[in-house]
Subunit: 84 residues, 2 copies
């Protein structure tokens, strides 16, 4: 595997992993009052656009990292709807 | 400007903007006890690696978005050191 792609996957792993504790904390606390819907929506939309950008420039690390993080955001949004 | 690059800049603007309210809130509250150093470090390192990846594949949107977000993370880390 190309060193550039390895750096991309490593970067994506770090930024995705650093998001997980928040999802786990929210899941345990069943509380989401500290998040704003606006912020989650902006961030989620940004992730989707990064994935589109990744598809455009044909970069698998960008596509995977942003789709997985988008999935985590979606989980937070669903918890916000359920446990508001 | 190429549509792909525009999508990249738009994505970067959204993900960077969605990070700003956190920095402003932390600045106002002078409180950072809700963040873990480990998480900030992982995220900051991930941003730096994304910037390196952006340089490797010659993508200005990725370089700019990640360097700016890394700067915001650095501000949070400095506030965490100062207002712990």
């Amino acid at each position: 595997m190309d060193i550039t792609i390895m750096i991309g996957y490593f970067a994506g792993t770090l930024t995705t992993i650093s998001f997980l504790p928040q999802v786990i904390k929210t899941w345990k606390l069943r509380s989401t009052h500290d998040f704003s819907f606006a912020m989650l929506t902006l961030f989620g939309l940004g992730m989707l656009l990064w994935a589109v950008y990744g598809i455009s420039i044909n970069s698998m690390p960008i596509i995977l990292a942003n789709i997985i993080t988008f999935g985590l955001i979606l989980v937070l949004v669903m918890m916000k709807v359920k446990y508001k």
